[in-house]
Structures are given as C-alpha cells and as structure tokens.
C-alpha cells in the first residue's frame, strides 16, 4: 500500500530532470552575458551608475567578476547595453570576464592555460568541498540546486563531499571575511594534491559590493592560481554546471 502511494507520487511528479543542461534555454527574462553596442552614450553617467565599479571606459567594458547583474545599466541605457540569456559565463582566466564594447563571443575556459593534470585526473570525476566565507547564502543555495533532481550535476560525476580529505578542490563563495581566513587555509591545506580552486559568485571573485570593507581579508586568493571563475549574483546552476564541465572536459 505504501509502495503504491509512493509510486503514485512519483508518477504525478513526472520527469523533472533537464535532459541536457548544456543546451537548455532559460524561460522569461534572465541577465546572463552582457552585450555592449557601439552606440554613443554619456560615458561618465554610465560608469557612475554601476554600484560596484564594474564598468570602465576606453573601450567601454563590463567586468563580470565585479558585476552584480542588477541590470541597472541596461535599463538606463538600453541602446548601449543588453543582457543576453547566455548562462555560460565561467572561465579560468580573470581577463576573459571583461566584456568589451562590440564583443559578442562566448565567455569560456581557455584549454591552453588550464593546468594539464585537471583534464586527466578530474575529467570523469570531481569531488568538491564548498566553503562559504562571508557568502550571503544565495550562491550556496544555487550550488545546492545544481545537485537537485532538475540540474542533477552528479550525472557528470561532479559532487560535493563533506571532508576536504575526500575533495579534489574547494569551491569558495562570499567575499572572504577576516573571521574565515584561517578556516579557509586549514581546509585548503587538508586537501590532497592535485587540487583546484573555484570561485563562485561576484562576491568571491572580486569582493563585489563588499570589496572595500575592512572586515574582508582576501590574501588567501593571492597565494594560489584560481582554476575557475563562475560569475553571477548568485551564479545560476546552469552557469555552475557548464563552467565545471568546461574546465574538466574540454580538450585542447
């Protein structure tokens, strides 16, 4: 009887998983990779508008590592800036997060600069330890969502584990608070080599709106090579899944 009820629930739920998270379209409005046209606008006003100084001039560009994806610039200057629904915005090079005027090419991992052991060792299985270092729980929830029945990242052998001893890398969210600095270092040191560092969300990549807070200590990030940047505020589960796949699966 119990089994029959369970089956009924399962039947009513139907198929929930996204068959291919690498090609699926996001419905409604979504602010993904921006496109900046060649249109002439008041540059000072545009730059002044941004809450996190993500926009710079000569040429006009948006740094996705600083952008909070609030969309204010696109609302004020719709002829200049549009946010496309492209969710593949993760890369291994910090420079590639800067979108310049007129550029309309994907943001992706550069296989030439990915450490060579990553593809060989983690290409079929990747276990990650997540650390929230001042994160507001939004990126944390989206990382959890990446593993739910819809996005189902574990279908690719990418999973989160409890112990750093079992992990192949750390995923950091949040602007890196002073009070978490020691814990992050201990966790990183506890992981066996080879290991990767992934930064998820604007706060982790640049500090975001908290960048100049005195309660922040980002010195840890200066010590090591960052293997993947996944922008977003918070990063969309599709950006997370595709970013990790791009890093570990792409061949030269």
């Amino acid at each position: 009887m119990v089994m029959f009820e369970n089956l009924k629930i399962l039947f009513h739920q139907g198929k929930q998983f996204i068959p291919d998270p690498t090609t699926v379209q996001i419905p409604g409005i979504f602010r993904g990779r921006p496109y900046i046209s060649g249109e002439k606008v008041d540059e000072t006003e545009l730059i002044e508008l941004c809450p996190t100084d993500a926009i710079s001039s000569n040429p006009i560009s948006i740094d996705l590592g600083k952008c909070t994806f609030c969309g204010e610039c696109a609302m004020r200057f719709p002829e200049k800036i549009t946010f496309t629904k492209e969710y593949k915005i993760a890369t291994n090079e910090r420079d590639r997060l800067i979108i310049k005027e007129g550029e309309n090419k994907p943001v992706e991992v550069n296989p030439e600069t990915v450490r060579k052991e990553i593809h060989r060792v983690f290409g079929k299985s990747l276990k990650l330890r997540q650390i929230s270092a001042g994160g507001d729980n939004s990126c944390e929830m989206e990382l959890n969502a990446a593993n739910n029945v819809q996005f189902d990242m574990s279908r690719y052998g990418i999973e989160f584990v409890a112990s750093p001893r079992h992990a192949d890398g750390i995923v950091i969210t949040g602007p890196m608070t002073k009070n978490m600095a020691e814990a992050v270092q201990i966790c990183y040191d506890a992981m066996p080599e080879p290991k990767i560092i992934v930064l998820v969300g604007t706060d982790a990549i640049s500090g975001g709106i908290f960048a100049d807070s005195p309660a922040i200590d980002r010195s840890f990030l200066g010590k090591y090579q960052i293997d993947l940047y996944i922008p977003g505020n918070p990063a969309h589960p599709l950006s997370i899944v595709n970013g990790l796949l791009d890093l570990t699966r792409k061949l030269k």
Partner: protein
C-alpha cells in the same frame, strides 16, 4: 513616561525621542516589558556621541501597533546594570553594545562576543575564542564548524555531551561578518545601498530589501503607490513559499526520507523560476528598489503564475499529505527539540520560533505594512514547540501564502505610478521599519545627520533573537537529532553576523 510612541515605517526627529538617565531608562524599559508578552524589544543599539554612547531602545507593542522609543546617554567609564539579568531577551543586544563600545555590565549573565566586529582588543580573535567547558570525566565535547559538512554557511557549534545526550550547546558566530552596517554609511549611492540590503541574507532578499525600501521611502517622505506595494507583498509571499518548501525538503533529508527530500526539493524550483521570469533573478535580487517598480507585475505574469500554482498546489498537497501521515518520519519530528512557551517569551523569540510555542508574533498582523492590512492576516500558531510544530507551521504557511497570492493576483493593479522619490532624506531624523520575512521579524533603523546623510544604519535579522532558541531546543536531545533541530529553525548566519 519618558518615551515616544511611533508607528511602523514612521520617521521622526531624533530630538523628539526623549532622553533619560540610565537609572530611569532602566526602570522604564523593564516596566514596559516585564510581564507583558505582547511587548518585546525589536532593536536596542548604541552609537558614539563624542566620548559617550547614546543608547536607543525600541519596544514594539503588538496589541496597540505602537513602537516605543527611548534614549539614554552613557559613559564608557561607568559600569551599567544589565537588562539581561531581568529580561533575557536583551542579552545579545547588550553583548553587542559591550562588543562595539566597551561598555561593561555588572550583572550580565555572559558577555561573550557576538561576532568579533570592531573589537577594542585586537588580540582576541574568533580563532582563539575560549569555549565554555565543564571539567568532568563523564562528559565529552564535540566541536563542529566553522565549516560544516554540507553546502552551508559557517558557524561553530560546541556540544557538551553525556554519552549521546546533549547537555549544553554553545553557538559561536561571527565568521560571516563582512561589515554590512558600516558599508551602508560608506556607500553613498542608493543603488549600492539597495545592493547591500539584498546581500544581508541571500535567502531573505525580498524581506531585507523591502525593509530597506520602506526605511528609505519614509525618510524621503515618499508614499509608495499601490502597484509597488502589491509587487512587494507578492514577492514576500513567493519567497516564503520557496524557502518553506526547501526547508521541508531539508527536514526530509535529515530524517533520511528520500522521496520527500527529492519532491519538496524540486517543488521549490517552479516558484523561484517564476521569480526569475518576473525579474531576471531566481532569488529576486534586483526586484525591489526604493521608490520604484522596476518590474511591474502584469496581468500576463498573473496568468502565468496562476498556471504554475495550479500545477504546484496539488503536487505539494499530495506530498505533504504523505509526509504528515508517515509514522517513521513523524516519530523523528514529534517531541524532538522542544522549546517551551516560557523560554520563547524569555529569550524574545520572533517569527516561526515564537509561533511554534503559541506565542503570537507576526508583524503582518501586529504592525501591518504593504498590503497586509487588506489580507486580514491571521498568524498560524502551534503549541508544542518541537520540530513537528515548526514543520507543520511551514506546511500551513505555504498553504496560507498560496491563498494570499491567489487573492492578490485576482486583482492586479494596472495603473503604474510614475512618481519618483523627489526629496532628499530628512535631516536629524530617525526611522524604524519592521517587515515579517519568512523567518520572522526584520527590523531596520536609520539615523540621519544634519545634512540628511545616513549616520547610523542598524539591521536586525530575526536570527539575532532565535539562535538562542536552537541552543535551548537541543538540550537533552540525542546529538544525532541536532541536524533536524537545526534545519527546522533554518536560521541565518549571514543575517546575524552582518
């Protein structure tokens, strides 16, 4: 009596708040609160005035819908009598005042650090915090955190156990402290401040950003039009559904009920995906802005939402029906992690943590804002204060929110006001705003200087009160029941640490 009474979202001149000496202040506040369960402290904080510290105490009265304000100027050199010795609900507020200004209390039960922010003594760090310890051969300690086993924010839990049984739990937070309140003053652009409000707690984006919007609009003497408040009310209820459903999933995970975990987990998705269809962000970042309706809620969206809810509702009800009749799950929920009504009153619990013990605290009915006065909100109360009560409240509140949303979208405002905030914030003023987020009462206070610039911005997440409820709930429980106790509260680390 030396206090002034205001309403939710009211701005008054700072000089209108009566000041008294500490002795009088102490007696008045205790008289206001002792034995009056309809009154509790919504915020109590200090700020520097020269070499002295000015304390502002805000007491809300749920029956008369008033908030009583009173101030007191104290000197750091003098040790003060603490409210906490009589009213435990002040313990964390006083610890914060001690931490930020070095004010000492004579009879405070435990002046332990709140979040290691702006400490006078820099040699004390969160890493060398001396945890409470009991010297005994029969007891052992279990330390958990700051990094936990799942994808979750950091905090340290130190258990003292007798075998499998928890004798005492000490919760030390502060790892998430990123200086939000200071940044509110440093960042001058309104958009920056709105962004900060969204970052207070990423699971309560709507709650905190609506509170900030209310504060700002009140300071600028701007009355939000119906379409703006409509969108906010709707978003608050959608956020409540999304998180409550997610929490039901997590509760199932913690008692190893796979089907409930997967089904509730996936039922959260259509709700947050709708938020993204509406405003471009799954957690509604960017949706709420002071004085603006950036994403007007159109009748087309209403049709779409109705369609989503028509599918969501029977699926949710079917799963809930199953979970709430499943004896193996119920045996883990019932009589686990109990907080008594007495204790909830003592510690000043708010939101669900109060309502689970039959303590009626819900800002939606006691200090209504946005469109809640039209919805005639009746808080959902439970009596037992255990995990089961907390989970039942979630189920009932999801059903209640569904009802409210259907009522709201049956009558979507079609006139979008073009009015913008035209005035600057009033100078030398004080504003207090209360909003019932999904977790409970959110309180933001703003003080402006003589130029109308923000001088103090004080944020209080419901978790600030409720973490102590978790510490009390787990006493005498098996340590293996800690995860389900913790998840049934689902308190914010980020909102607490700021």
């Amino acid at each position: 009596m030396n206090y002034i009474s205001i309403k939710n979202n009211q701005t008054i001149l700072l000089s209108d708040i009566p000041e008294s000496n500490y002795e009088y202040f102490y007696e008045m506040i205790t008289n206001l609160v002792v034995g009056r369960i309809e009154r509790h402290c919504v915020n109590y904080f200090g700020y520097k005035v020269g070499n002295n510290v000015k304390l502002i105490c805000c007491i809300a009265d749920d029956l008369t819908h008033e908030i009583f304000l009173s101030t007191c100027l104290v000197n750091k050199a003098h040790e003060l009598e603490s409210f906490s010795s009589q009213l435990l609900c002040f313990e964390k507020f006083e610890r914060e005042i001690h931490e930020n200004f070095g004010i000492n209390y004579i009879d405070h039960p435990w002046l332990k650090p709140v979040r290691y922010a702006n400490r006078d003594d820099q040699s004390q760090t969160i890493n060398n915090y001396p945890f409470f310890s009991i010297n005994s051969e029969e007891l052992h300690e279990v330390g958990v955190g700051p990094i936990h086993a799942g994808i979750i924010e950091p905090g340290h839990f130190r258990f003292i156990c007798n075998g499998e049984q928890i004798l005492h739990l000490e919760i030390q937070l502060g790892y998430q402290h990123k200086g939000v309140e200071q940044l509110f003053l440093k960042k001058k652009k309104l958009l920056q401040r709105a962004t900060l409000a969204e970052g207070i707690a990423g699971d309560t984006v709507v709650g905190h950003s609506v509170t900030f919007a209310h504060v700002w609009e009140s300071l600028c003497d701007f009355e939000a039009s119906r379409d703006i408040e409509f969108a906010r009310t709707l978003a608050l209820e959608l956020e409540r559904i999304a998180v409550h459903v997610g929490d039901l999933s997590a509760a199932c995970t913690d008692v190893a009920y796979q089907l409930g975990s997967a089904v509730f987990g996936r039922l959260r998705t259509p709700i947050i995906n709708f938020l993204q269809e509406w405003c471009g962000n799954r957690l509604a970042k960017g949706l709420v802005r002071p004085g603006q309706n950036q994403f007007p809620f159109s009748p087309v969206l209403a049709e779409r939402l109705k369609h989503i809810l028509d599918i969501f509702e029977p699926e949710f009800k079917e799963m809930a029906e199953k979970l709430f009749t499943l004896s193996s799950a119920l045996s883990r929920f019932e009589r686990t992690g109990i907080v008594s009504n007495d204790d909830a009153v003592k510690i000043g619990a708010v939101g669900m943590a109060a309502r689970m013990t039959n303590l009626d605290r819900d800002i939606r009915s006691s200090h209504p804002f946005s469109l809640y006065s039209e919805l005639n909100h009746e808080p959902i109360l439970k009596r037992h204060g255990d995990v089961y009560s907390r989970i039942q409240i979630r189920r009932k509140e999801v059903e209640q929110s569904l009802k409210y949303i259907r009522k709201l979208i049956a009558n979507v405002p079609t006139i979008y006001s073009e009015n913008k905030i035209s005035k600057e914030p009033q100078s030398n003023s004080f504003c207090l705003s209360l909003v019932e987020g999904w977790r409970g009462e959110i309180c933001h206070c703003a003080l402006t200087d003589r130029k109308g610039d923000l001088m103090i911005y004080k944020i209080k997440d419901p978790s600030f009160h409720n973490w102590l409820a978790l510490a009390l709930a787990v006493r005498n429980n098996e340590i293996s029941d800690f995860p389900i106790c913790n998840k049934s509260f689902n308190l914010s680390y980020s909102g607490h640490d700021l």
